[in-house]
């Protein structure tokens, strides 16, 4: 299940705070990790940020085409947005501590999203 994969990724990184699986076409968060305490308004905002950063329908707000991955680093937080390579409207939205190992987390998050997508497609 998607939530299990999100929980597994969350548990693997001390600096990982919230993980959300989103549908960019409807701008909706479909599921979050179990321990997420974000309110609905905050999740909606996270999804809207993912839509802006990654773009939709092949078009991005910044760049020549929609991005496959995005990250926003500030002093307080690192937000990572990953688009599924199989289903471009599926995205993983992540809120992390700014001190997280960004390279390691990106690699693990990509693997998680690939697992989620393949599981969804196989109907498991």
């Amino acid at each position: 299940m998607v939530v299990d994969e999100l929980d597994k990724l969350h548990d693997g990184f001390a600096g990982c705070e919230t993980l959300a699986f989103a549908d960019l076409s409807t701008q909706m968060i479909l599921v979050t990790n179990t321990q997420s305490t974000l309110r609905r308004e905050a999740l909606d905002s996270l999804c809207a940020q993912a839509v802006l950063v990654l773009g939709t329908n092949g078009q991005g707000a910044l760049g020549q085409s929609a991005a496959t991955a995005g990250a926003v680093a500030t002093a307080d937080t690192l937000r990572v947005f990953l688009r599924s390579t199989e289903e471009p409207n599926d995205a993983l939205c992540c809120i992390c501590s700014p001190t997280i190992d960004a390279e390691a987390f990106l690699a693990a998050a990509r693997a998680s999203l690939a697992t989620i997508t393949s599981t969804s497609q196989s109907g498991a």
Partner: protein, 260 residues
Amino acid sequence: MSDIDALVATLSTLAGKDGESFAHGARVLSQGGTPEPVAAILNAVDDTVLERLLRLDVDGQQIDLIAAGRRLRGIHAAAGADAATQALFGKVLSREEPDVVTAIGEFLTAQCATAQRVSLQSLPPKPFGNGGERGISAAGLAQLWEVGLTAEALPPMRRFLAANANALTATMHVKDGEMQGLSGDYKTLQTIWNQQVIAFREAHAKFQANADEPALICLEGAIESGDAIALAIEGDDVALISCGPEAMGALLSSWRMIAG
């Protein structure tokens, strides 16, 4: 962290001067390239009167120096050195052997070239050379190695661009609306800047607690070459850059060290 490590870290912090920071009990000499790492190391040598082993941690690489009387006597041991450089370890620096002095300077400079953090622990000395060989003063080495001990730090954006120059395929740097520099194949960046950056920043501001806070926004696969682009914002200092997609994680880490 063990109890002893925790105690060392606490005592080091309590003994520190204002503005100093510590990591795992070691004093941070340079972070994100500020101050310039080799200058910071020489300043640490200049602060060392009694003979000590100065253990440097350069992004996880250990370098042990022997210093005394505000002089660097030499390198006791270090990781990451080739065989020719290792042959210099244990030798006391002398102006009569300029090749050795130059090689040691080049080694330290190379080790610190892209260092995000250099920290120092001052430890009891180990046997090194003959008692009569004093080494070379920090000020003398600064002159020989052409290092400015009091050089002012570059602004964060310039440090960020300099620290990641090897990973960037193009840059466009604008401060207070004035072009500061262009590099690489910047034409695509220029088009994006002219047509999209202002609107994007306005749209993205609502997701930030403070629209003026330093931020690095990276987008992978957003340009036709397959490169990633990133918008780095530090007040009125803004850079639009492109890099290989594999560089995104390293850029984020570098930004945190410099501007975070």
